[in-house]
Assembly symmetry: C2
Homo-oligomer: 275 residues x 2
């Protein structure tokens, strides 16, 4: 584990660290906010998965989450959005390749060698976090846009790993969206039955979910039609999930939206993490 | 206006009153909670529509709403659920006829003479309330089950009358439900295009709604499959409504569910009423 930076922040520490990942076959970077309470023993953890074009840094600097995590005594983890470095495949577009992993384990070339982000998040990152004063039995997950898709799908696929899940503006039904179909074809191949395992709406319909779910979606989101919030809302209702779907009038897809509601999300997760 | 009873309650007054209604062609009874602030001038109003089998009394005695209305300085109105009295048609069943008006204006016999509940609520009751220190420019509406259907449909049909709408366990899509199809056929006739005007999901899809919406639905509701929460949630998302749909894990259809979340609903409406 290498320390890239550490800054005092709301009485705790905002750090950036890098470590080797067997899954992605390279070095991965993440942000970690440790609240003041971590000096006295392990604290619960909220993982925040970012969206397209982001690195570990965007939410760390723009969401304002640390203020509320400090109040609740919760650590925040900001992973990167894809593998990086020499030999890592990419496209010219912003929505596939670097910073656009969709948090899946790719089975197709040229992505397969490094784009193993589901295993990275659920195994290698979790192992790396064990070096810090974190209570890895109390972990929840959130995210934005592609990262909201990541949070929802990883929580639904790994129901024992996370105590609660929330998302801002998530891609809710990628197998029915421009944000999903092309990427899943590239990363996962043309067999659409495989895609269903990475689609929050389909996972909710097939498996259900028994932990708390919170989704916030701005009604002025410029990408509204790619996100399919209604499909996920209907799936939650049909599955009788413990879910809140909130349409926030006039908000768009930006970090100003996230910052406006991050307090609610941290408090929502705190309730599950301290239950 | 006749005063049936008045009791001091949370510093204000819980009254029960009756008045003649031209719409229903008889005497209608309602409960009215006036907070302490009403002594000093008009206060905002939250109307609560009750469900099948109820009178004006159930929510007045079992919801616990007065505590929170008193905190917010808001009046509560508890209308009856159907016309009553000699000559008012009924069936043997609990879900059609007395206490089961579905808040529509019936066009079919034997219902047509008295079952004019939409006009009663939106005209005659409103006029009767003008006798009290109420700010009739600041009115919101809520309800439970059939009353949740009433609240949602009246708000969506009369968007300028109510500043916000909420519902507990509402019948969301009556044209697709056992709770709706038979009643609409009886009250409104067999032309299903007429039914659409009394279906919250269809109204949201056709007209949208630009005021705040809050729905709470228990996942252990014994009538879950009649309520179609997911259809309304999807319609809200597609209409980009300012809507929160909350699935409350383990709660059923009872007043214990309502009592558990009535504070949230009163606070939600207070925000719109005082905006």
């Amino acid at each position: 584990m290498d320390t890239i930076s550490e800054n005092k922040c709301f009485g705790g520490t905002q750090g950036v660290y890098s470590h080797a990942s067997a899954a992605t076959g390279g070095t991965m970077t993440f942000g970690l906010f440790l609240p003041e309470e971590a000096a006295n023993g392990p604290v619960p953890v909220l993982i925040y998965l970012s969206g397209l074009t982001c690195t570990h840094e965007n939410a760390m600097t723009k969401s304002g989450a640390q203020a509320f995590a400090a109040e609740q005594g919760i650590a925040l983890v900001f992973p990167d959005t894809s593998p990086r470095g020499d030999g890592v495949a990419d496209t010219d577009g912003f929505d596939m390749g670097l910073a656009a992993s969709f948090y899946v384990d790719a089975t197709q070339d040229p992505w397969k060698p490094h784009y193993q982000m589901e295993t990275y998040i659920t195994r290698d990152l979790m192992q790396a976090l064990a070096d810090f004063p974190l209570d890895m039995d109390r972990v929840s997950i959130t995210g934005h846009s592609m990262g909201g898709h990541g949070a929802l799908t990883l929580a639904l696929k790994h129901p024992d790993m996370f105590r609660s899940v929330s998302a801002f503006s998530p891609i809710c039904h990628p197998t029915a969206s421009d944000w999903g179909q092309r990427q899943f074809e590239g990363y996962l191949g043309s067999d659409k039955s495989v895609w269903a395992d990475h689609d929050a709406t389909l996972l909710m319909r097939s498996n259900g979910y028994d932990k708390p779910v919170l989704v916030d979606q701005g009604t002025a989101d410029q990408f509204y039609d790619k996100l399919n919030t209604g499909d996920f809302a209907a799936a939650c209702a049909d599955a009788r999930a413990d879910a809140q779907i909130r349409l926030q009038s006039g908000y768009d897809h930006s970090y100003f939206f996230i910052a406006s509601f991050i307090a609610d999300h941290v408090d929502f997760h705190a309730q599950a993490l301290y239950a």
